[in-house]
């Protein structure tokens, strides 16, 4: 029974989660695009001579946060850079897309990316327990951060578990690559055949949480990843 549950999580649920996320995100984005446009400007001054570039800069470097809360900004910047590296690192697992050397046993960043993400998530979570952010926060704010924290933590455990095993890398980067390659090719092969290490349950948990994240993403504030630039553009043009 456990094997069947893990198989469901590791294969069919991954497809469902991705499909749900893509459809949900598309519906959300289209809903906003199709809404009536405001006839007047919402810009604030002074104006920028290159408003589009300024909006992109606002979205990616968050100058208002740097100015008003430098510590928060440091964590935010570290977190977002690490998220970008995390996406690249997961793509790097796929043999056809590999950026690092084929026989490299480590993810990009040698585990440091996961540590940065985990620490940042803890910081974001803890600051929500302090006034005045505590009074402003809603359950969804805590839950999404807890979910992210658990995803990052299980990712860290997978990374560390590989290194700490007395037998060496029990689930190697190449094994994970084979699993992801199978998903991409829709082979529906049981991942247990490829991932023989003792911490398979942690990998399964990591994938389950990631699936859940993908499914809640279109309904969460994480959608700001799609809207940060258009939002900043509103105050620029």
């Amino acid at each position: 029974m456990t094997d069947k549950i893990f198989y469901f999580i590791m294969v069919p649920m991954v497809y469902v989660a991705f499909a749900w996320c893509i459809i949900g995100t598309t519906v959300k984005v289209m809903g906003i695009i199709r809404s009536p446009k405001l006839p007047n400007t919402l810009k604030i001054f002074p104006e920028s001579k290159t408003p589009v570039l300024a909006a992109i800069k606002d979205a990616f470097t968050m100058p208002t946060v740097r100015k008003h809360n430098p510590v928060f900004w440091l964590f935010l910047l570290a977190f977002h850079v690490a998220v970008a590296l995390l996406i690249i690192a997961h793509l790097d697992l796929i043999p056809q897309l590999r950026i690092t050397q084929a026989d490299s046993p480590h993810m990009i960043g040698n585990g440091a990316v996961g540590v940065v993400l985990t620490i940042s998530a803890v910081y974001f979570l803890l600051r929500r327990f302090r006034t005045p952010v505590r009074e402003l926060s809603v359950p969804a704010d805590y839950l999404i951060l807890c979910l992210l924290f658990c995803i990052f933590l299980t990712g860290d455990v997978i990374s560390w578990g590989n290194s700490w095993s007395p037998d060496g890398f029990v689930i190697t980067k190449q094994d994970l690559g084979s699993y992801m390659s199978g998903l991409l090719r829709f082979t529906f092969q049981d991942p247990r055949d490829l991932l023989s290490g003792s911490h398979y349950a942690v990998v399964g948990t990591h994938v389950l949480l990631a699936n859940l994240f993908l499914m809640v993403l279109p309904f969460s504030k994480i959608m700001h990843s799609f809207f940060a630039v258009p939002l900043n553009l509103l105050r620029r043009v």
Partner: protein, 431 residues
Amino acid sequence: MEKEQREKLLELFSEKLTSAARMYLENCSRCGLCVEACHVYASCPETRYTAVGRAQNIRRLYEKYFKFSGKIAPWLNEAVELDDYWMEKVYETAYTCTGCRRCMTFCPFGIDTQLIQSIAKLMLIGADMEPKVLTMLADVSIAKGDNIDATKANFAEAVHKLESEVIEKWRTEAGADTIPLEVQGAKVLYVALAGKHSIIPAAAIMNAAGEKWSLSYFEAVNFGAFVGHPKKTKEIAQRIVDEATRLGVAEVVICECGTAYRVMKHMTGEHPFKVITFVELIARYLNEGRIKLDKSKIKGRITYHDPCQIARNGGIYEEPRRILKLLTDDFVDLEPNRQANWCCGGGGGLVVIGEKDFRMKSAKVKADQVKASAADILCTACENCHSQLSDLNEHYKLGVKVEFLSNLVSQALVREEKDYVPCACRTAAVG
């Protein structure tokens, strides 16, 4: 609350759901960065007086009635029912915020609380809960526009009575009207407020500059915008647009009224004429050498309060400072200033409604800022700000003289043309 009433209010809510409003309602991460931006929170630190706190009152309704997640798991984002109790919260969103938009300069996404506030204001109108004085004044403005021919003679007579006071400041050329009305082909249509304080100094300055101008029959202030009624806002602004178009003026110059300027400049679309503030016009006259100021006329240290709707929301930062530096050698900026300046606490219709206790309590930070400047004269370029700053001056015993910029300029006009010697450096300073 009756079901029909709720549906009516939600219909009004949905009318405001533009793409911008949806993005603002869906993407706030409640990071709390905007908390420190609000002058109300800075003066009385309660969560309900934060930009995000006010927006949450509307966002929680949006979650309940317009989002899938609010229907299946309302507890996740604390979705709420629209009822009589929650309409009190909606009122709080609408009328504890002055719409200064300082929070936009803190928010990493630039969320505009004023836009979210506009949803609250429209719902209050639908629930017949808006401050009635604002609706009444908006209706009076519209009625004046509908019956302008019947009131023109009375208006002309009232204006004529002001002419002697204008002449005291600047003699009128022979054959010229001191306060001209209905000037076809005038370069400038000056739109004043109902009080003589916004007509006399402006008339003296424009006459001194030899401007071909005409006084509008209509008052600049837009009570439709204060109450948040889009149709009335447009109708009130349209009266001025029609008059300017009929006279064929090149520029509509809005008196010292921040909201009037923002509505006319940024919220009523494209016009066949240019819209500027009177502050910009004064700066231009000085730049072109058409008027000259005597620095010895105004005594004491002067500071300047940037009206939010003219500065942060209108882009007029440097012109008033250039003018003031030609008025005095003792100008000091408030700290913070320009985009970061604290709101006076009187915008968004609060001065008109009254709400004096709240206005005084919520603008303590402004009073502290003025006190720290050690200025003798607190100058501004907005009627609302002037009223609020005057109240603050009295309430907190700041000991400053609150003045309109135009009034200071009119007092310092150099009267004799022969005295005027063009000064290259001065001209360069007023760009």
